[in-house]
């Protein structure tokens, strides 16, 4: 499942998980923000231990460009 919200909210979610998990060594972050192909929607994968006020969605193929 993914949280969807503004790019800033998604980045803040990544920061929250990254700081809380205390990644070290070769792992530096929880995840990257996924941008919808239209460029106006953003999502970040949910960490099972961290909830947020953003909406939860499944990322469907229409989020991604056709390859």
């Amino acid at each position: 499942m993914y949280y969807t919200g503004t790019k800033l909210k998604c980045e803040n979610y990544n920061k929250k998980v990254t700081l809380s998990e205390g990644y070290s060594g070769s792992t530096t972050r929880w995840s990257d923000v996924v941008t919808h192909k239209d460029g106006n929607r953003f999502a970040i994968i949910k960490h099972e231990n961290y909830s947020d006020e953003m909406d939860l969605i499944e990322l469907t193929d229409d989020w991604f460009e056709t390859i």
Binding site: E21, G22, Y23, S24, G25, S26, T27, T28, R29, W30, S31, D32, V34, T35, I45, H47, L59, D61, W63, F64, E65, I67
Partner: protein
């Protein structure tokens, strides 16, 4: 006299208990530009196999080899009761081009709830349901252009996967598979010939065929000429694209070796299969 006999007996005993000699794939066949595996590929390689992050506390640990295969005892102890993810898959070729992923959510899994993930009895890096992938500093489109490609892999249940792609260039793809796409663009910016799947000629028409053909543990071999480009953006990756993966994640992987030559394809396949018993 007694000392001589004792020394002789001691020498014989030591000889009898010695570990069997080891000859790795890359000892027999030279010219590898990269070599990733969950077994030792080269006698002189003294580094680790993988770096693993455990989910319980995000600690990382290098895991090496015991008896020339992944040290599963150390891995199981480190990941007791939790999941383990591979952050670095070390390059055994001697060229120091490891595969890595710095984002926790996209690292392939090797342990689930304390159990090492296996395929046909041997450990495997798995990816399923997310945009798992790894990248490297290896530019396939440099040096000798004619490569010999050897992959031990198995697709997962995700609809979209890609075995090899690049760091950020979206036009580079080597074996794209999809559960429902009839697109015939399986490879782009790489010319593959003499393709074999489990020792037999591999013929496919579209991405569905590739998806179907890789349902079980498979050994792919091919001659490959990459024209991915020579920029850092073109660095070889597992999965479609490292920086923005676009839903085509890496396949499950046990071994990837790329040679800077196209010699001995059948013999190399046989040697790889003698370890994995995929066919």
């Amino acid at each position: 006299m007694i000392n001589i006999i004792q020394n002789t007996i001691g020498a014989l005993a030591r000889r009898g208990s010695a570990a069997p000699s080891f000859t790795g794939l890359l000892d027999t066949y030279s010219g590898a530009s990269v070599g990733y595996s969950l077994r030792r590929l080269r006698t002189a390689y003294s580094g680790n196999c993988v770096k693993v992050r455990r989910a319980s506390d995000s600690t990382e640990l290098d895991i090496g080899f015991v008896n020339n295969v992944l040290d599963t005892a150390s891995l199981a102890t480190f990941c007791s009761g939790t999941d383990g993810f591979v952050s670095i898959w070390y390059d055994q070729s001697g060229n120091a081009k490891p595969m890595f992923n710095t984002s926790a959510s996209r690292q392939p899994k090797i342990v689930t709830s304390g159990l090492i993930l296996l395929e046909n009895g041997k450990p495997i890096l798995t990816s399923d349901g997310s945009t798992s992938g790894m990248t490297s500093d290896y530019i396939a489109d440099s040096g000798v252009s004619a490569k010999g490609l050897f992959i031990v892999t198995k697709r997962n249940s995700s609809a979209n996967q890609c075995i090899l792609g690049s760091y950020s260039d979206g036009n580079n793809m080597n074996y794209l598979l999809n559960s429902s796409s009839t697109s015939t663009t399986v490879n782009l910016n790489v010319a593959v010939t003499a393709q074999k799947l489990n020792g037999s000629a591999w013929v496919y028409t579209n991405r569905i065929d590739v998806y179907t053909d890789l349902a079980s543990q498979s050994i792919i071999s091919a001659n490959a000429v990459y024209s991915f480009g020579a920029d850092p953006t073109d660095a070889l990756s597992l999965g479609y694209r490292y920086t923005s993966p676009v839903n085509f994640e890496m396949t499950n992987m046990q071994e990837l070796v790329i040679f800077e030559n196209q010699t001995d394809q059948a013999a190399k396949e046989t040697a790889i299969n003698s370890f994995y018993n995929a066919y």
